[in-house]
């Protein structure tokens, strides 16, 4: 059954990103997949409240604000998902007793907003120069009523789907899988599968998301390398 926007089942929407667009935060990025679009601004390492202070590592705090309406428990849920995903990727031991604050503002939500939030956070952290063990790329997919698995579902597709799956992978993990490694050997950093699905559906969606995460990572890599090249061609002095 062809998709409303005539995309292939394993085709993600057009990706678009801007780095360093906000000037008051230490690092910022806008990430959009189709009409789903998210801003992310990162402060860090900055001063931390005495109560939350950890003596051997930086505290990671995530604040998510929705596109419309008052923020509620849904946003606390996304905040805890993003914090969990980056808790280990950020090398917090290098800046003990400080705070790394990730502020996410959803611009528009047309499906797979969690994945866009994770990707925007990765780019904002890199733009802020926060030490990262690895970059994280996320993708989501949905199993429709007729059993077909489609990648990067729009809001409409996700609402009518039997189950929606979101995965995030670390860059090195994707590299290993990319070079022909069996998908079993990869380890996702974040998994959220909800709805009514079988283990086979889960595996199918796992592979689909792994491949589209590869494409997202490649896109992010070229975007960041482009910015660095622009900045550094005058530093060869």
């Amino acid at each position: 059954m062809p998709r409303p926007d005539r995309r292939e089942n394993d085709q993600i929407r057009a990706l678009h990103s801007i780095l360093g667009l906000l000037n008051r935060v230490d690092g910022s990025a806008q990430f959009s997949a189709g009409s789903t679009s998210v801003y992310c601004g990162v402060y860090g390492p900055v001063d931390v409240k005495v109560y939350d202070e950890k003596l051997d590592r930086a505290v990671i705090e995530v604040k998510f604000r929705p596109a419309a309406g008052v923020s509620g428990t849904k946003d606390r849920w996304v905040e805890s998902a993003v914090r969990g995903t980056f808790e280990r990727e950020i090398l917090a031991q290098m800046h003990p007793r400080t705070l790394i604050q990730i502020n996410i503002q959803a611009r528009e939500d047309d499906g797979s907003a969690d994945a866009a939030a994770i990707n925007a956070t990765t780019m904002a952290l890199v733009d802020a120069g926060v030490p990262l063990r690895d970059m994280v790329a996320a993708a989501s997919c949905a199993v429709l009523a007729d059993g077909a698995a489609v990648v990067d579902p729009t809001l409409e597709e996700a609402a009518a789907a039997q189950s929606v799956h979101t995965f995030a992978f670390a860059g090195s993990d994707i590299g290993r899988a990319g070079s022909g490694g069996a998908s079993g050997s990869t380890s996702p950093v974040y998994v959220d599968s909800r709805g009514d699905f079988s283990v086979a559906d889960y595996d199918r969606c796992y592979d689909l998301c792994l491949r589209s995460a590869q494409r997202v990572l490649a896109f992010m890599r070229t975007a960041i390398e482009g910015k660095i090249a622009k900045e550094s061609q005058i530093s060869v002095v």
Binding site: S71, G72, R76
Partner: protein, 270 residues
């Protein structure tokens, strides 16, 4: 129509919801044929069940576990209480320790409309009553600059005054379980006046139809009353009689509490 206030930190339901009008006649009316609906005599208390300490074995030290806890049942009333401390208090005074109490009804605990999550004025008032009733019994001078916190949650309540006295008994058990230094165990009991007859330990139905309710919390060994609250009109002699019989029931509750606590020490928590 009672409006549910929007709470940003919880999942919210519809803005307005109300209890349906119940057409069936519900349970039996109290005091209809002289005696009480559940067949108790006028000064008979409801059966009391107490369980202190962790339910399953606590193998190693856990920094987040309470130092003492108690689960208390009196008839349909069910209350759970946990005691933390002595620990660093927010407001601490160097000579004496401080004792804070926190009281909360579970949203489903009352027979009528669901209680909102945010604490109402009556819950704050009861928390103060519990604090004032228990503080005289605690040897606060043994805990300078530290503070002892008790948290009480009512799972099911049946009679407002009966629930307050049950909460006091529950905190006493929890404090004893926590090994906090006490002058004595505080026992409490409530009574209601119905057609110029004092009835002990009334449930919600009986309390609704009674003219006056009263509860006493008492330290039997030194025969000191730590808290006395009466709500409703009585003649002075009626109140004297009530306080007298209530003190005797407190002694009976005290006996039950002591027997349980001694038994709990003989065979350690399963």
């Amino acid at each position: 129509m009672s409006a549910n206030i929007f709470d940003r930190r919880r999942v919210n339901g519809p803005p307005r919801s109300v209890e349906p009008l119940y057409t069936d006649e519900g349970d039996v009316k109290p005091f209809t044929n002289g005696g009480r609906a559940d067949g108790r005599s006028l000064d008979q208390l409801r059966p009391i069940f107490i369980k202190t300490g962790p339910l399953a074995v606590q193998p190693t030290f856990s920094p987040t576990a309470p130092s003492g806890s108690a689960y208390y049942e009196q008839g349909k009333i069910r209350i759970s209480c946990a005691v933390y401390g002595p620990r660093q208090g927010r407001k601490s005074n160097p000579r004496m320790g401080s004792f804070d109490c926190d009281f909360q009804y579970a949203p489903f605990s009352c027979s009528w409309k669901r209680r909102p999550h945010i604490k109402g004025a009556d819950e704050k008032e009861i928390a103060l009553i519990l604090e004032q009733a228990m503080a005289p019994a605690i040897r606060l001078e043994a805990y300078p600059k530290a503070c002892i916190d008790a948290f009480v949650t009512v799972i099911e309540s049946d009679g407002k005054f009966a629930t307050i006295s049950a909460a006091i008994n529950c905190i006493s058990a929890a404090l004893a379980d926590a090994g906090i230094e006490l002058y004595d165990i505080v026992a409490a009991c409530s009574m209601s006046l119905n057609a110029s007859q004092w009835v002990s330990d009334c449930n919600q139905a009986e309390e609704d139809v009674s003219q006056c309710s009263l509860f006493v919390s008492r330290m039997p060994s030194a025969d000191e009353i730590t808290y006395l609250l009466q709500q409703g009109k009585t003649m002075p002699d009626q109140t004297d009689r009530a306080v007298q019989t209530c003190s005797n029931s407190c002694a009976r509750v005290y006996a039950v509490l002591s027997r349980y606590l001694q038994a709990s020490m003989e065979q350690p928590a399963s």
